[in-house]
């Protein structure tokens, strides 16, 4: 197989089966944004550090900017566009609004995906566990406190 020969990938994106022809060097971020027009996943540092491009693969947060698209064959992918139940926001999305945890908003899709994964694995995390989970997500606007408050509310826990 040569580098520019497309590779056929079948995966689930936000619950829908997608069969896509992707390039060998293509990142999952490029596939989501350019082929599926899922532009809610943001292009930030492109080196897997800032977290703005975080999506869930089989429930685990992954930096899609350094994830090979060809390698997601057979996997389940969730993006920010798939978080809400139709019109109804997820409890975490709602908590982010209620706690004014959104400022410029560019990091928010990645933040929400990382925290969604945390809350799915651990229903009732401590503040410290929330902060540790966010070690791969940078926000330059908020100073994080209102985000952690929101995550605690979504987890049904009062402020520690």
């Amino acid at each position: 197989m040569t580098a520019d020969q497309p590779i056929s990938v079948t995966c689930t994106v936000n619950g829908e089966t997608q069969t896509l022809e992707v390039g060998a060097g293509e990142t999952l971020l490029q596939t989501l944004r350019r082929r599926l027009w899922l532009t809610g996943t943001k292009e930030g540092c492109l080196e897997g550090e800032c977290g703005a491009c975080t999506v869930l693969i089989d429930g685990a947060p992954v930096a899609s900017c350094i994830q090979s698209a060809a390698a997601v064959d057979g996997r389940d992918i969730r993006t920010i566009e798939g978080l809400s139940d139709g019109e109804r926001l997820s409890p975490l999305q709602q908590a982010f609004l209620d706690h004014a945890a959104v400022q410029c908003g560019f990091c928010i899709p990645g933040m929400l995906m990382t925290l969604t994964a945390l809350l799915e694995q651990q229903a009732s995390p401590s503040r410290e566990e929330v902060e540790t989970a966010l070690a791969g997500n940078t926000c330059r606007c908020t100073g994080y406190q209102q985000m952690v408050d929101a995550a605690m509310t979504a987890a049904g826990r009062e402020r520690a």
């Binding site: 920010i80 004014a100 410029c104």
Partner: protein
């Protein structure tokens, strides 16, 4: 009040948590081409030859341009020193040399690598110290021929971009009378804004006009600067603003827009440009690195007879907006503490490094760092308690700053010290080995520049606010302006829609900077909504056959006071008005008038007053690990005066966000320069604050409504960053018993200082 003072949610919040919000970097239009810049690979050098033939022949390429192909006049905000493309010499690493436009971004990227560049690299003028040496190479050999805005001289001199001097003439005499002279030198590095959305521009050219879609903090300045560099009337440029993925000052001036505009006109196709992450880091207008020397003439009783302050900062390769803000040191010394007299010199210096620029709290963080480290130093040398000495020196209401402007409400600072004391009694803080406490105070401004708003009553009884005010995240537009309009008319904030900026549609607005939006644009919105309100009352009075004075508007209903059944819905009033006298709308305009001052002291300064001051006291307690040198912030208290709070959660978010940026600047973030080139070249190496780095923060909000502000609001968003470096350095110095006068306070710096003590 029903709406003002409540934590209304931002109007773009739901779109942002759903991933629906379209940021500039997300834009795409049919037929758009993609362009990339070839940027200088060295910090300084002579360009011998640029060969674009291979690039032009590269797959998918539509056009390649250099300075030879376009109007390439030197231009700028203050000093006209910056061409679009370097043509004969390179002034900094990352400076644009050529642009390629192609069908895809990948093709454009491939083609710029094929531009053949012949450069004779030169030794860069890498630091302000080198630039000021008598035999220094001139960064710009033809500097004397550069034009300036309004022909202002700025006291330019070779590598000195501009300088200000405030010298009342009695300073040297005061030093002769001093019991002791206390001297300090305070050094601070650059700071990278680190917004997450890269800079972008999407340009089209149609019917003789340029349209630029962009995420930008100040669309009207962008319009004016594009008109300058493209040599077209301002009205030939339209700026359409989109969601901004962070700016913090970095998106206030030109970046990619002129290149996209030129290329779109030549290609007759829309042209999209997007910086890659490395380009961002190489070219972002970082906060300037600076050295501040402070000498104080002090009597043994603590009286400061005089201060002599000498600031040198690194402008980088071009002047940017610096000559306009160069006067800020005259507001940071002799303003809150009693100082007999003061001489202030500030020199901005060209180097072969990326141009520095605006970052939240422009100049303030390092000037307050110097001023407040120096207060600790004086107190320590006199054997005085550091807090007690500050209170003894703190001036009273009416104290005049060095520009002759009186601070009429300075007693707010006394109250702020008291409120911090209630929460964290000074005598109990910082006790124990390697534990320390720091305190600092500051006065900050609310940017006074103009804003305009048009408010129209829709035929369903809701309001639309038309403004070019931009929301780069603060919520000042998406909550604050909506709340002001809602409160003023008597409706809910949900019934107020606010436009995205468009220079063809809205009146001039000076953009998202200096905490000005709530105060200045908010006042324009308040005045406009007041006009709408009057028209509603007039129409409803005619419809209800009652006197205007008897009517009130509550919850979207106009009714006779005390007689709720004599009422009309706003939709009924709006419909009746529209089809009888015409639709109801009104406009408002505002700019803060300059406070009274003594212009003879501020000759040659573009920025001569400190409008709508706000007051701030911060306290921090830190611990230091003697083995690793790590500093941990155990406690942080902020007492901040805001005039009136429009939205408590939004204010809190600004205060916490500014603190995080201040802690990063002081403790963790790195922007090192080696021979003119940035050392940190990827995201991770900058050391930005993470969630786990943030301390518990106690925030004490102080309200003190200001007459001119909407419902008394002053600026609130910017200033929490300003005192942070001072407070933390004071606390660390206290903890280790040795002065820390440079930041960042790295573990190595702490261990070195511990060894010396």
């Amino acid at each position: 009040m029903k709406v003002v003072g409540s934590s209304v949610q931002r109007s773009d919040g739901e779109a942002k948590v759903r991933g629906d919000a379209v940021f500039g970097a997300d834009l795409a239009v049919p037929g758009m081409l993609h362009a990339r810049l070839l940027r200088a690979p060295v910090a300084a050098g002579i360009i011998r030859h640029i060969d674009t033939a291979a690039a032009k022949a590269s797959a998918g390429v539509r056009d390649v341009v250099t300075g030879a192909d376009v109007l390439n006049e030197r231009a700028g905000v203050a000093v006209f020193d910056n061409p679009l493309f370097a043509t004969d010499y390179i002034a900094y690493e990352g400076e644009p040399i050529a642009a390629v436009v192609a069908d895809t971004a990948e093709q454009a990227e491939a083609a710029i690598r094929k531009v053949e560049l012949t450069i004779d690299a030169e030794t860069p003028v890498a630091t302000p110290g080198q630039a000021l040496m008598s035999d220094a190479r001139m960064v710009h050999p033809s500097w004397a021929e550069f034009g300036t805005v309004g022909g202002i001289d700025f006291n330019r001199d070779g590598n000195i971009v501009s300088q200000i001097l405030l010298d009342p003439g009695d300073v040297d005499g005061a030093f002769k009378r001093a019991d002791r002279v206390i001297e300090g030198v305070y050094q601070t590095p650059r700071q990278y804004q680190a917004y997450l959305e890269p800079k972008m521009a999407l340009a089209t050219f149609e019917a003789g006009r340029y349209t630029i879609q962009v995420s930008h903090q100040y669309p009207f300045r962008l319009r004016d600067r594009l008109a300058q560099v493209l040599d077209v009337p301002k009205s030939a440029v339209r700026i359409v603003g989109h969601h901004i993925g962070g700016g913090f000052g970095a998106k206030l001036d030109l970046a990619l827009e002129p290149y996209a505009a030129v290329l779109a006109r030549r290609a007759r196709r829309p042209v999209m440009m997007l910086n890659n992450p490395e380009e961002e880091r190489l070219t972002a207008p970082c906060r300037e690195n600076a050295t501040v020397k402070v000498r104080s003439a002090v009597l043994n009783d603590g009286t400061i007879l005089a201060q002599d302050v000498d600031v040198v900062f690194d402008s980088g390769a071009y002047a940017n907006n610096h000559p306009a803000t160069a006067s800020i040191p005259i507001f940071m010394f002799g303003s809150i503490y009693r100082v007999g007299t003061a001489r202030i010199r500030n020199r901005m210096v060209y180097t072969n490094t990326a141009p520095t620029g605006a970052f939240r709290g422009v100049s303030g963080p390092y000037l307050v760092f110097a001023a407040e480290r120096h207060m600790d130093q004086i107190a320590n040398e006199l054997g005085r308690d550091r807090r007690e000495y500050r209170l003894a020196m703190l001036a009273e209401d009416g104290h005049k700053m060095l520009n002759g402007q009186a601070l009429e409400e300075l007693s707010i600072l006394h109250k702020a010290f008291d409120l911090v004391e209630e929460r964290a009694p000074w005598a109990e803080q910082g006790k124990g080995k390697l534990r320390g406490v720091g305190i600092a105070a500051a006065v900050w401004l609310t940017n006074p520049q103009p804003g305009q708003a048009t408010v129209k009553l829709n035929e369903d009884g809701t309001l639309t606010v038309v403004t070019a005010a931009t929301d780069s995240g603060s919520g000042a537009v998406t909550t604050g302006l909506r709340q002001i309009a809602a409160e003023c008319l008597g409706i809910s904030a949900d019934a107020v829609t606010i436009t995205m900026p468009d220079t063809d549609v809205a009146g001039f607005d000076a953009g998202s900077q200096g905490s000005r939006t709530t105060h200045v644009a908010g006042r324009a919105v308040y005045d406009a909504t007041t006009g709408v309100r009057e028209k509603v009352i007039e129409k409803a009075a005619a419809m209800l056959e009652t006197a205007k004075e008897d009517l009130v508007i509550e919850d979207g209903v106009v009714h006779v006071a005390g007689v709720p059944e004599m009422s009309l819905g706003l939709a009924d009033v709006a419909m009746a008005a529209t089809f009888s006298q015409g639709p109801i709308a009104a406009s408002g305009s505002y700019t803060t008038p300059p406070p009274p001052h003594d212009p003879s002291r501020t000759k040659g300064m573009l920025f001569s007053t400190w409008p709508t001051p706000t007051y701030h006291v911060h306290l921090a307690e830190v611990t230091v690990d003697a083995v690793t040198g790590k500093v941990t912030v155990e406690r942080y208290i902020i007492a901040q005066e805001v005039g009136r709070t429009i939205n408590p959660d939004a204010v809190k978010g600004q205060v916490l966000g500014g603190l995080a940026q201040g802690l990063g600047y002081t403790l963790w973030e790195r922007v090192d320069i080696d021979a003119g080139r940035y050392v940190q070249r990827n995201f991770e190496s900058h050391g930005l604050p993470l969630a786990c780095d943030m301390p518990e923060v106690e925030f004490v909000l102080m309200e003190n409504p200001e007459a001119a502000g909407p419902y008394g609001a002053k600026g609130a968003a910017e200033p929490s960053i300003v005192p942070v470096a001072a407070v933390i350095a004071n606390a660390v110095s206290d903890a280790i018993g040795a002065p820390i006068d440079d930041i960042p306070i790295t573990p190595e710096a702490v261990l070195d200082a511990l060894e010396r003590s």
